[in-house]
Structure formats: C-alpha cells, structure tokens
C-alpha cells in the first residue's frame, strides 16, 4: 500500500493540530536558551501547509515543494529554514511521482538529514534535529510496512531526544551556554518528536 497526496494531506492536518497544541511548549523550550520562537515557526509553517493542503497537486514532488515554501515564506528562523531544506530534498527525489512506497521513507529521511546538514554545517551527534532524523532514518532502514514504519519513526525521534539529552548543545544560540545545557532537551529535537508523532499518527 503506497502513500499518496491524500496521506500527505492527512499528515499535514495532524501536524497543524499538534503544532497548535505544542505552541507554548515549543516556545518555552526554545526560550530557555534561545529566542523562544520555535513554536511560532512551527505553528506558522504547519498552518501555511494546512492552507495549501486542499490545493496540493498529486505530484508528490510538487506538493512537497509547496510545503517547503510554506516554511521559507513564513519564517526566517533556523528551524524553519532547515524544515524547508529537508522538504525540498524530499521534493527533488519524488518529482514526477504520485505515490511512494513506504520502504522509501528511510532514504527520504536520510536525504533530508543530509541536505539539512549541508545547509546548517552541524555535525551529527551535536544534539540537533539532525540527530532525530538520523535516528529515524536508521530505525526505518529495513522496514517495509507502513504501520511498522510509523511506529519506528515516532519511537526513534523520542529515543534520540532522550539519548542526546545529557550532551551539551553545540549549535545555535544554545551553544554558548555549554555545560549548562546538559540535561536539557534540544528544542529542535523536542519539536521533531512531536512532528514525528503527529505525522506517524502516534501522538
């Protein structure tokens, strides 16, 4: 059973609801060491995607390109730009396709991770959203069933968040706090845990 733009629309709807709900929590998490705009970025981006959803074309490449632009148009913050970069990478891969086999998901996530790493020049293991994506790509590498993949994606994001918690931040505004960030979740990883749960419908 392949995934189509219908699945994308449903995922966007769940994401928009989740980001509305997590608005304050994400702002607060980002505000602890950063500028407190992560909830704003995600809520704006997700709701811009939701606005586009009814009109998304069947071509998944085109559809994901529009999703990427929902972020570049509504936000200039790091996370929004990284989200756009990741979505653009998936869009390039899926250009001309109206459906995608769940078995491709791992490669799509890995491609997004790589594109985002090129954009942001952060290292893996640096306690950023890259580590969430890396864990999600790896956890889904050998899976083919939609349901198993959904579960793995959600669990991997949450597990990565936990696994990196006790490292110090190495990137962005939080970096400067160094050791103080040990034991604190990276807000971008926290956001990805919510995003993954919402998209995978494991919220």
């Amino acid at each position: 059973m392949t995934l189509t733009v219908t699945d994308l629309r449903a995922a966007i709807a769940r994401l928009a609801t989740a980001m509305e709900r997590e608005f304050d929590a994400l702002n607060a998490a980002d505000g602890a060491l950063g500028d407190g705009d992560l909830g704003v970025t995600m809520k704006r981006g997700a709701s811009a995607m939701a606005d586009l959803a009814p009109d998304l074309p069947d071509d998944l490449g085109q559809a994901l390109l529009a999703c990427a632009q929902a972020f570049t148009k509504t936000s200039g913050s790091s996370y929004g730009t990284l989200m756009a970069t990741g979505l653009m990478s998936m869009a390039k891969t899926l250009r001309g396709h109206t459906s995608v086999d769940p078995a491709q998901i791992s490669a799509l996530i890995g491609g997004a991770r790589d594109a985002m790493q090129t954009r942001g020049k952060a290292d893996l293991g640096g306690k950023t959203v890259l580590d969430s994506l890396d864990a999600m790509a790896k956890a889904t590498a050998d899976l083919t069933s939609r349901e198993a993949i959904a579960t793995a994606v959600a669990e991997a994001a949450a597990a990565a968040q936990l696994a990196l918690r006790d490292k110090p931040a190495t990137i962005g505004r939080a970096r400067i706090f160094g050791e103080k960030t040990i034991g604190m979740d990276d807000p971008g990883m926290l956001a990805m845990t919510s995003i993954a749960a919402a998209i995978a419908d494991r919220g």
Partner: protein
C-alpha cells in the same frame, strides 16, 4: 509595556511604512515581499551591490544603512528574527546591477542558512554572490573559536568601508576582500543594563535586577561573561577596553577607530562619560584615534547598555572609512 505601538504583528511593516514615507530620498520598498528596502537612487551602473539582512529592532542596523556609500539593499525580518530566504533573494535582486553582490551580515545561524539559500536561488538568475560574515563580539567565543562569535556593532564599520569600496569602483572580489579585511580588524564587546521588549513577546527578553549589569551580553539578550552589581562608568569602560585590547593588542603608532555605541536607552551623555576612558586608554597604547563614533549606531530597541567596537585601520581601510556616505542616520562629508 512601555512601547508605542499598535498591533504587535504589524510592528515591522508599520515601521517600514513610516521609514520610507519619512525618507523617500533614501529608501524605497523593493520586490514584493514587503520586507526589502533598497536605495531610492540606485548606485552607478556596474557598481558592486552590497546586501545585508537580519532581524528588526536594531535601527539604524540594518535597514538604516542603505544609502550612497553604504548598502544597496536590506532584507528585514521580524524583531530579532532572520528574514526569510525569499526576502533575501529579493534584496539580492534589488542590489545587483550586473557586477555581483556582496552579502555582508552578522554571524547568526538563521541568517547564514537563509542567505545561503537565497544565493542558490538567485544563482539561476546569473547573480554572482560573495559572503562576508561579521563575527566581532569577543564575549561570545574565545579567540580560538573566533569564527563562532556573534556579529554585533562591528557591522557598522564593515558597511561603511565596504560601501565606500564599492562606490570607489572596486570589483566584487575587491569589495569582498576589503569587507573581509574590515571584519577581521574589528572587535566588539558590550554590556547590558536592562532588557528590551520584543513586541510580539510583550514582556522583557531577559530579567535583570534594578542594580545589576551584564558584561558581554548579546544584543538579543544572549548570555555574557559575568553578571554583577552595576559598576561605575570608569570601571565599566576600563574593563571593556581591557577585553578589547587583550583580544587585539595595539602597538604604538597603530591607527584605529572606535565606536562607543548605545544599545538604545542609554543616552549620549553617558556615552561621552565612557569615551573619556576609551580615549585615555587608546592614547596610553600609543594609538591614533581616527573618526571616533559616539552614539546609537546599532541598538536593541530600548535596551539600556553600551558596546565598544575597535577597528584597526590600514591606509586602505582608513580611506574608505573617511569617504562620504549618506543615509537618514549617518552622514559623512
């Protein structure tokens, strides 16, 4: 909340509407994102373009420095937030007259990613871009990690010097080289006394007691090197000079300029009180002070505090620093 505003979400757009209405001889909105300000009178054809961008709330930085002898266009984000890649691409388009565009901006993650993405977008339109990133805030990383430092008021010197180089007709490589030299020669350090309020946040960005100050705090309230009781002006100035001179030692005969900058609420009276010590210290180092700047050149709205930016000049930098420029906030004849 002691701010004069309407709906906080309209803050930046209303600010730009007023800015362009008040100074149509300097500024016009360009592109269709509503967040790009370009020179009212474009530079000479063939002049290298210079673009900057960054969050609002720092006037005259960034938008204010669009003008002859300075910048060609600027992409403006929400308060303390990067403009989007789309907006930056529009700014690059507005600034290009065929000779390429220098992207000259501060070292913030979001800005870098977006300027990179914007550059990739306009590459398709045959606009060549180079990049110089300001990383002048010595409090934000040790010398060994100087590339991780935040960009702060040092960009005022970089805008001025690169702008003059472009006006003088240097090509893109030349302007980029001069801008990089100015960036490399600049060091800043700041001290904050009180927070500002980001309109959409509606509350102070950080808390600081009535009798406290923070040395090295960033212009968005990023943490500094120490927080303690407010010290006397002379002690503050001395410590800031100690830190600058430790990071970039001066030799007798060096020619320098220094910017004694208010973060917003701190009045010029207090800047001049500080300047006494600044001048004494530079004199003691045997340095010659050229065109010192004292005032509000790079701010955080109504934040109270100061920053010092020291730039070591060679003959080329000094010539460009002294060259004419004009904008609503700064005019050099």
């Amino acid at each position: 909340m002691k701010k004069i505003l309407n709906n906080p979400v309209d803050y930046v757009d209303e600010m730009l509407a007023g800015l362009t209405a008040a100074h149509p001889e300097f500024y016009r909105l360009a592109g269709d994102t509503g967040r790009v300000v370009a020179r009212a009178m474009p530079g000479k054809p063939g002049k290298v373009g210079i673009v900057t961008g960054g969050g609002s709330g720092h006037l005259p930085v960034f938008t204010g420095y669009v003008g002859p002898g300075l910048l060609d266009a600027c992409a403006i984000g929400d308060v303390f937030a990067s403009p989007s890649a789309e907006q930056m691409a529009d700014a690059l388009r507005a600034a290009d007259s065929g000779a390429g565009v220098l992207r000259l901006y501060g070292n913030y993650g979001g800005d870098i990613m977006n300027f990179d993405m914007a550059g990739e977008l306009v590459e398709f339109e045959d606009i060549t871009c180079t990049t110089v990133i300001l990383a002048d805030d010595i409090a934000s990383a040790p010398p060994a990690e100087a590339a991780k430092r935040r960009g702060v008021a040092g960009m005022v010197y970089a805008f001025k010097i690169a702008g003059a180089a472009a006006e003088a007709g240097l090509d893109l490589d030349g302007v980029t080289r001069v801008a990089q030299k100015a960036a490399d020669a600049s060091r800043s350090v700041g001290a904050a006394l009180s927070s500002c309020i980001v309109p959409q946040a509606g509350k102070p960005t950080f808390d600081i007691a009535e009798d406290e100050m923070e040395m090295g705090m960033g212009i968005h309230g990023e943490p500094g090197v120490w927080r303690d009781k407010l010290r006397p002006a002379d002690a503050i100035a001395s410590e800031m000079m100690d830190r600058l001179l430790a990071d970039m030692p001066l030799a007798a005969g060096d020619r320098v300029s220094i910017l004694v900058n208010s973060l917003g609420a701190t009045p010029p009276e207090e800047l001049y009180i500080l300047y006494r010590i600044v001048k004494t210290r530079l004199d003691a180092a045997g340095a010659e002070v050229v065109m010192p700047l004292v005032g509000r050149y790079a701010t955080s709205m109504e934040m109270a505090g100061v920053s010092f930016t020291l730039i070591k000049l060679d003959a080329e930098l000094e010539t460009y620093l002294k060259a004419p420029c004009d904008c609503a906030f700064w005019s050099v004849k």
